[in-house]
Assembly symmetry: D2
Homo-oligomer: 340 residues x 4
């Protein structure tokens, strides 16, 4: 089986693994109070040009989202998200389990707009309804798209106008920021959001995400919130080791760029064969539409996700990652050419 | 600094680390549906002689406790625990955050008794009060003590009589089961409890715990509960790799036994110097009482936890782990002899 | 100001008030364990032909919904509702505050269909998503419509097929069951749902709703759930007094019928003037569409709710209740005729 | 059966009932936005000499406590209470169900002290533990005792020193403030606490409590919190009617004083017969200790609560209320004299 199912199916990038091995017997106090975490946090703050940000390391994306959002909001405050937002679909009600309503907005490309947000706010006007208080966006989105600087700037203005926090799920932030479609700098990510997380799981870490909080009002007692949700690992220093490596010599971005390039080549080859796409993606997730017979044939040797049945055709999701290879892409292209 | 602060301050046991390196590029589907997790679960079921148990891998102890307890209980059901129970003190209200009251019982040695449980149940008799429904015990306890077979058997009978689940926090289960004071087999742990977890974090894993559910009524939909609480890591297969290693050739128990032996030697040497202990511990946590001046002197070269100030003396906690060495124990003994 | 804003703006129906006065000094043990509540529950069970139902009295509708749903569901289980469902709009996130996701379905008339439910279930197939477990319907709906016997029977079959509970919010059950459009008997309501509540607040009680649970699996420990959510009033016996009165000589249904008749007459008069309605309502809520100038003129002497701005016209909501009068309807009709 | 079981077993004081009857057909907009509530709130603010306080009406005590505390606290913040506090025993885990831990302190008389609070705060020093943030006291307490001005002033200072809110459960505030043991004015209650509630249920209202918030930081969005917890009744205006009556001509305090006087006479008569009390109570709850045979004999004609079995004696609770009579007290005294 050749894997195009996900970007988290393997262990750690060799550099990250080496760092874990090299530091394996160094003792830490535990719970993220250690030199490795300090070093990683400093490197991240430098990269995002935000020296006063709070940086925390948590072991997974869902846990990061639920810990952050439940810490930031009062009970009657709600989260605005796209229908396709990870928290709105694939986190098994994690945010609601902490007591908060999601207000989900339709979106064809995984992104939400100030106009839709303004409508949602206008519809929530009295105390019989929740108060929209935080906008959740993913970058890159669940459909592989990325927010432009103009879009993010407009979202920020909208959030300011409606007294909303802007939170970015950066499970694939590396892929967003190294996309050919991207025109946003890391520093702009930090200055335009109140908090975001930098995904490690899907970009070369063995485990872990780095939550980056820029809004000082959201910082107090966040470690209490982490502990309460089970998000503060005893061995947090291992995430420090990993993120310090990822943010040395821009490894984090190089890995994202590498995965994007493979996906771009694959998408381009498929297009050249006449394969259709509902939307083209500038990152490491691509969504070709194939005849069902082709999908079935492909599934014998390739592992991938069925995204959406469409009658006698099927949209599938192909994912490349830091561990994907040129040879895998070549073989898939060759096999598809033969099948069509 | 020589470390006696904890048993989770370093990375992974070399065998575990090697397994992670060796399998680093093997692809998995993610979320714990993979051959590594299957293999590890099989090995664990075999060790605990319970072929029908459900085994799940979660990244940390607090997360395991809160996910399990909130999945097992109805909203108005409460948890009985010792005052010193980890959930009652050091998890920042994690269980209450999922909506459940803790009923905590006094305990001088970290253990709770059927008598105290029966009293708690008798006091909760009508619908103005919560319903006690689950007994939480730690083995070994936060004070290093272990439950005997007679004690566990009596607790089981008490739980049956009062319609209570028995849940064991096994963050240090390896140390309990390999203690000289232990007379309980792994199979008996499984048969006397409804669920327990096998701690990896404090006994040689890089990260992760294995939750073991023996009561079939508690099994349905547990993966939904895990996902909702953020406890189902995308890279769960890495915990499969680790636990398969720990449960090969009884590595898990050898590591616990090793840590216990170091602590036993240390405790015995300290006793021989006339140092007092409030309770003697048969596992890897020991609690000597020292003059404050000695504590201060010790703190210059050693890292450990202040457990309890006692006027001009202080009870400290010394912890040994799989990564502690004979040389460290020897040096501490020598330094203490010189100071006294 | 003449009131067409709501059906809960006044005190209690005179018969109910008289019963409260007559029994004012009778002592009860409190918390709903008393002869008044027993009597009322018996009368209700008789009316709904379900001798084994559990009947509980709670002080308000939102509190009833949140107490029931949170008691019935496991944490990862979700509620299916219409977009317009009261819990989905006007309860300030009350259900989510107890930890449960709502899956809301579009609906033009306030009702949901088995087809839409089946789609929602089909979309929730793995442990990354919540499990749909309860269907919430209102009868009459927030738009004044009622479910037919055929519709309810189909919903029941759908719920059975998909392992779903069927819960009916009966804030205006009296109006539904006495509507000219209704073909469902009280006994059928009981046999087709797992639980429903009989609204008192909007139909002549001073305060209170009666929750009726027919599914035995949902009955255990419900009083614990009530107490925990603050839904078990010390003076619950007063709700017993009221509901015993409402279910004597069918007062409950006579009041609903009375309000419906006033609304029907009003709707018919407005139609005869050429006033448009998006949907005609067979119960006590009607939704005429008027020119904005007419709405503004009307608002000087009448109190009502703006339902939906529609450019230079506005949909308003007019509500009649047990305390509305023929004279009020006559005057509104006359005034409108003059304005048009 | 002559009732000494509780002070909430009957309907409303005749003056309150009359006001409800007199205003029965006056229309209100609902949800507490009406002239009755405004009037009642003004009268209450005047009585407690705090013109800027926020006043809200909620239908019951548990609901008031859980709504207020969950609105005031962040998820990881905890509540300090006496072991005997109503929220710690008799509310079925209502506060924990909103996600917050209770830290309960031993108390022989139902009151807690600055010393004990300071110890609890000192024990909660890092992010592995909850943050104590609110002190819950009852006045009068569950044991009938009252806080003196010196005690409340010391509590306030302690709360200020430890960054704690002070919240008073005033289910029986009338009885506290009219006790012979009381030296606190209503204005001092308001100035020494951050919020408290004025119990109606146990002192002559048909239903309802008035929450009084003096700390401006706790006021925003409180109506959202009420709606979300089901604590904002559609017919809230009826609580306005009742509280306006209770706070006219000091009826509220006259009723408390009346109940206290009956209890004082009863306690004094019992003492004169040689009956023992563990603590004497200056309010309307008294706790005599009687031989079991006497208790059994008494139970044939009197309704009361068994408070605490004490071997061959039993402590019972006798409660007087606004509806208790001199004749009832006389008869009990006479019957007890005969039995002893």
């Amino acid at each position: 089986m050749i894997g195009f199912r996900n970007d988290y199916g393997q262990g750690a990038h060799p550099d990250v693994l080496r760092a874990l091995c090299d530091t394996n017997l160094v003792r830490s106090k535990g719970y993220g109070i250690d030199a490795f975490c300090d070093d990683a946090a400093d490197k991240i703050r430098l990269e995002f040009a935000c020296p006063n940000a709070a940086v925390h390391f948590l072991p997974g994306g869902t846990l990061t989202n639920l810990t952050a959002l439940s810490a930031f909001l009062r009970p009657y405050e709600a989260v605005i998200t796209a229908h396709s937002g990870h928290i709105a679909v694939h986190e098994a009600g994690a945010i609601e389990a902490t007591g908060h309503r999601l207000l989900s907005l339709p979106s064809s490309d995984g992104k939400i707009t100030p106009t839709d947000i303004a409508v949602a706010c206008a519809e929530h006007g009295d105390e019989h309804m929740v108060i929209p208080r935080l906008v959740y966006i993913s970058n890159s989105t669940e459909l592989g798209t990325v927010y432009s600087l103009a879009e993010l700037t407009a979202l920020r203005a909208c959030c300011d106008a409606h007294h909303l926090y802007l939170y970015m799920d950066g499970a694939r932030l590396a892929h967003a920021l190294t996309s050919e479609a991207n025109d946003v700098s890391p520093a702009q990510i930090a200055s335009l959001t109140d908090a975001f997380y930098i995904g490690g799981t899907k970009n070369g870490a063995m485990f872990g995400e780095a939550l980056f909080i820029t809004n000082a009002a959201l910082m107090p007692h966040f470690r209490h919130a982490m502990k309460q949700r089970g998000a503060m690992l005893a061995k947090s220093h291992l995430m420090g080791v990993q993120f310090a490596t990822l943010f040395t010599d821009k490894l984090y971005f190089r890995l994202g760029s590498y995965a994007n390039a493979l996906a771009a080549r694959l998408q381009s080859e498929l297009l050249s064969m006449g394969i259709e796409f509902q939307t083209l993606s500038p990152t490491n997730l691509i969504f070709p539409i194939l005849d069902n017979a082709v999908v079935a044939a492909l599934a014998k040797n390739y592992d991938f996700e069925i995204w959406c049945p469409m009658g006698n055709r099927t949209m599938i999701r192909l994912v490349t990652g830091w561990a994907s290879t040129d040879a895998e892409v070549d073989k898939l292209v060759a096999d598809l050419r033969r099948m069509l």
